[in-house]
Amino acid sequence: AQSVTQPDIHITVSEGASLELRCNYSYGATPYLFWYVQSPGQGLQLLLKYFSGDTLVQGIKGFEAEFKRSQSSFNLRKPSVHWSDAAEYFCAVGPSPRYSSASKIIFGSGTRLSIRP
């Protein structure tokens, strides 16, 4: 069965420090991969997505993620975090057209990011 694992429930980093949020997936083929961010009291906003091609994906707000097939990972990175990056981050996997015509997304359990001044 498809699944997404975010092993870190809560991470605290200092403002200006680099960030890496981990995401591992289990899927029968190369899926579509997403990172969403949820700010307090807000809905989910798409940060970036991977469908095919270049395995290093650039997103909004200075975020990037790298797809590593051998590790079944899609980790999110940012070289220097800002206080406004404090939020909940969700990794998600969607089906490739080979397996499903419905855009059903499976979300990880989220990683809460806190920023230390």
Partner: protein
């Protein structure tokens, strides 16, 4: 203008009551979704509709009944509310229901339902 809007933002009610959450999107999308986010932040799809037709129906109690009067609206009605229904419910929409590179889901701000 908010692309995907949900009302109300907060809903506090007693067990056994019936309540509805409304969702509207002004993106011209064909497909809309309801997700449930539990207290542990776990987000799971409940339903999706494409052009008013039910596409995805996960294992959800039949007390939950989605209604799509037109493709811009997908409302969620819940009968006989239970304590376990307390959660944040998110509405989302996408261009269509195909798993393609352009088909991104856009989310509303959520409705926090508290059942007492």
């Amino acid at each position: 203008d908010t692309a995907v809007s949900q009302t109300p933002k907060y809903l506090v009610t007693q067990m056994g009551n019936d309540k509805s959450i409304k969702c509207e999107q002004n993106l011209g999308h064909d497909t809309m979704y309801w997700y449930k986010q539990d207290s542990k932040k776990f987000l799971k799809i409940m339903f999706s509709y494409n052009n008013k037709e039910l596409i995805i129906n996960e294992t959800v109690p039949n007390r939950f009944s989605p209604k799509s009067p037109d493709k811009a609206h997908l409302n969620l009605h819940i009968n006989s509310l239970e304590l376990g229904d307390s959660a944040v419910y998110f509405c989302a929409s996408s261009q269509d229901n195909l798993a393609t590179a352009k088909n991104i889901q856009y989310f509303g701000a959520g409705t926090r339902l508290s059942v007492l």
